[in-house]
Symmetry: C2
Subunit: 352 residues, 2 copies
C-alpha cells in the first residue's frame, strides 16, 4: 500500500477567539482545555495513523517557529510557511504537490489544526476507513459528521440516494442552511456535517484541481519542484487564487465520497461553540483559572491570571487576558469578529 | 459667634466597593469620577465653611498617612486615628471632646467622607443654616434630604407635625422602610432621608451623649484631655461601645432638629448607587477607562488599565483591577459584601 501522510492546515487567524487569540497567536495555538494546544492535540491524534515523520503542517510563514515549538518532533522541512493566506485550495494543492514528489499515490489525510475531537479512537477508525477508500476508489473522500442537532452554522454534505455502508457517493454540498432546512436535513438522514477533514491520493487531488483550476495546480507544482521553496512560495503563492477546497474542487468533482462519522466533533468556531464542548460544573459554568461565582449559570470563564468574581450572571462569555477583557453574551459570539475589526479601524493594533 | 469646625468621618471599610476598594484603600480614598478622591471632594466642600485649619478627620489609625496624602493642607494633629472602628458615636464624641478643649461652644459640622454631593453651593447654603441653628438653638441639627423617590435603602427623619421653615423639630427617626411605607413617606411630605450629616455645638453634643451614654462621654473626654493622645486612644478606645450616633444620641435626645435639604445627594452605598449618580453616555453606560461597547446598555464600567470589550450586555457592573475583576448584575450589588466575606473565608487575604 502507498504511504500515508497527514496535512494539518494551521493557517487560521482565529479572530473569533479574541482576546485569547491574537495575530501572533491564533486559535490553533491556544490551550482551550487541559494542557495541550489545539494544534498539538490534532497532531497527536494523527501520529498513530501516519507516523510523526509523515505529518505536514501548512501555516502562516510568521508562525513556522511557533509550530516548531508546539510540535518539535515534526521535521522542519514539513512545516510549510505561506507568505499570505489563500484559503484551503492552494494549501491542499501545495501539500499534494509536495507529497506527490515523494510518492504520487501517497494518501493524504487533510485536517484543520483547530477542531475539537475527544474520541481519538473513533476518529482514527473513521480515518482508516477514509484513507483506505481514498487509496482504493481513487476518489476524494470527505468526513461527514452524523448530525446530532439541526445546526445552522455548518455546511452539509448530502449522500446520494440509496447509498449505504461506510463509504457513500456524494450528491451535493449545501451551504449553511436556515433552521427549517436544517431540521429537514436532520430528519432525512442523508445529510452530514461537512467537517473540513478529507482524504485523497496526492495524484488524484492534483488531477481534480488541474481540471477545475489549472493555473492553481500548476502554481502548486512549481513551488513543490523549486530548489528554494521559500523563495518560490514568496514569488508564486501571493498570486494564487484565494479559494476554498470545497468550492474549487469538491463541489465540481464527480468522484467525491463521504464517510459517515460518529465521533463527537466541533469546529469550535466561536467561544460559544467552545463552551458547548467544554466540561461544565453543576451550574453549567465552564471555568478555567481563578473564579468565584455566586448565582452564576452557563457561563464560560477564562481567567488564568486574576480572580474573576461573578454575581448574578447568565450565559456570558468572560475572557480575561493581561491587556484586554472580553465580556460577551453567548448568543453574540459571532460579533467578536466585528469587535476585532472595530479595533483595527481604531488603530488599536496593540490589541490585535 | 463661636468658631466653626468640620469633622469628616473617614473610618469606613467600603467592602461594597470591592475590588476597587480594599482594606488598604477604602471607598473614601477612591476616585469615582473626575480626578479627586471622595475624601478630598468632601474636604474641599467644607473648607469655605470653616477654613482648612478647622477641619478634622477621624479615620482608621492605619489610614492616617493616606488621609495626610489626600489632604496635605490639614494640620496633622487634626487627623485622628482610631485604633479600631467603633461606629459613629465614639467618633463624634471624641471629635466634640477635642474641639471642646479649644472652644466648648464651637459648632461642629459632622459629615461622612464618602458621600456624593455635586451641588456644592446648595450644600453650603444648607450647612450655613444648620450651623447657625446649632449655635442659636443649642440643639442637634440633622440634614434631611427631601426625597425624590420612595427609597427603601435609606433611614428617614420625620419632622414634627405642623413644623415649617428651614429648621424643624424632629418627631422621630425611622429605619429603612418597606416599599409601601416609603411611598407613603414620599407622598406625606414630612419624611426626609437621613443623610448622616449633622451640626451641633461641641458642649451640646457632649451633654446629650453624657445623658444617654455616660461611660462613652467620659472615655471621649479622657482621650481628648490626654497628653499622649495616641496612647490614650490605644488604651481607651477599644473599650468604647460600638454604636451609631443616631442610636446612641439622636433617637434619644429631645432637642433634635432637621434642616430640609434640596441638594442632590447619595450615600453611594454600592456600585449600583454610584452608577445612578455618574454621568452616562447615550446608551446609559457610565464608563471610566478604556472600553469598546457593542449593543451594551446601562452598565457601569471601570477599566482603567486594560481594554474592556463588551458585547450584548445590560445592567451589569464591571470593575476591573490589576488582580481582581468583578462582574455583577446591578440588582445584586449588595452581594458584593458577601463576596468579600467569601474571599475572607477562603483565606484570600491578598485580595481584601
Amino acid at each position: 500500500m502507498s504511504a500515508l501522510h497527514a496535512v494539518i492546515m494551521a493557517g487560521g487567524r482565529g479572530t473569533r477567539f479574541w482576546p485569547a487569540s491574537r495575530e501572533a497567536l491564533p486559535k490553533q495555538f491556544l490551550t482551550v482545555c487541559g494542557d495541550e494546544s489545539l494544534l498539538r492535540r490534532t497532531a497527536r491524534r494523527l501520529y498513530p495513523l501516519t507516523g510523526e515523520e509523515n505529518v505536514w503542517v501548512v501555516t502562516n510563514a510568521a508562525h513556522v517557529d511557533v509550530v516548531a515549538e508546539h510540535l518539535p518532533e515534526i521535521r522542519r522541512e514539513r512545516i510549510v510557511g505561506e507568505p499570505v493566506g489563500r484559503n484551503t485550495a492552494p494549501c491542499a494543492g501545495l501539500a499534494a504537490a509536495l507529497v506527490a514528489r515523494e510518492d504520487p499515490e501517497a494518501v493524504l489525510l487533510v485536517a484543520p489544526a483547530d477542531h475539537w475531537i475527544t474520541d481519538e479512537e473513533g476518529f482514527r477508525r473513521t480515518a482508516a476507513t477514509a484513507m483506505r477508500a481514498a487509496a482504493e476508489l481513487a476518489g476524494l473522500v470527505t468526513f461527514g459528521i452524523v448530525p446530532t442537532s439541526p445546526q445552522t452554522g455548518y455546511g452539509y454534505i448530502e449522500a446520494a440516494a440509496g447509498e449505504e455502508g461506510p463509504v457513500r457517493r456524494v450528491a451535493r454540498f449545501t451551504e449553511k442552511p436556515d433552521r427549517p432546512t436544517a431540521e429537514k436535513f436532520l430528519a432525512g438522514g442523508r445529510h452530514l456535517w461537512n467537517s473540513g477533514i478529507f482524504a485523497w491520493r496526492a495524484d488524484v487531488f492534483l488531477e481534480e484541481l488541474e481540471a477545475s483550476r489549472p493555473e492553481l495546480a500548476a502554481a502548486c507544482r512549481r513551488i513543490a519542484a523549486a530548489r528554494d521553496r521559500e523563495a518560490a512560495l514568496a514569488e508564486i503563492y501571493p498570486g494564487c487564487e484565494g479559494i476554498s477546497v470545497d468550492y474549487a474542487v469538491l463541489e465540481r468533482s464527480r468522484r467525491v465520497y463521504v464517510v459517515p462519522s460518529e465521533f463527537a466533533w466541533s469546529d469550535v468556531g466561536s467561544w460559544t461553540a467552545l463552551a458547548e464542548v467544554l466540561p461544565a460544573d453543576e451550574h453549567g459554568n465552564a471555568v478555567e483559572g481563578d473564579a468565584l461565582t455566586l448565582d452564576t449559570h452557563d457561563c464560560l470563564v477564562r481567567s488564568p491570571q486574576r480572580l474573576a468574581a461573578l454575581v448574578g450572571l447568565e450565559n456570558l462569555l468572560i475572557i480575561d487576558t493581561p491587556d484586554a477583557l472580553l465580556i460577551c453574551a453567548k448568543e453574540r459570539a459571532q460579533d467578536v469578529k466585528a469587535l476585532v475589526e472595530a479595533l483595527e479601524r481604531r488603530g488599536r493594533r496593540d490589541l490585535l
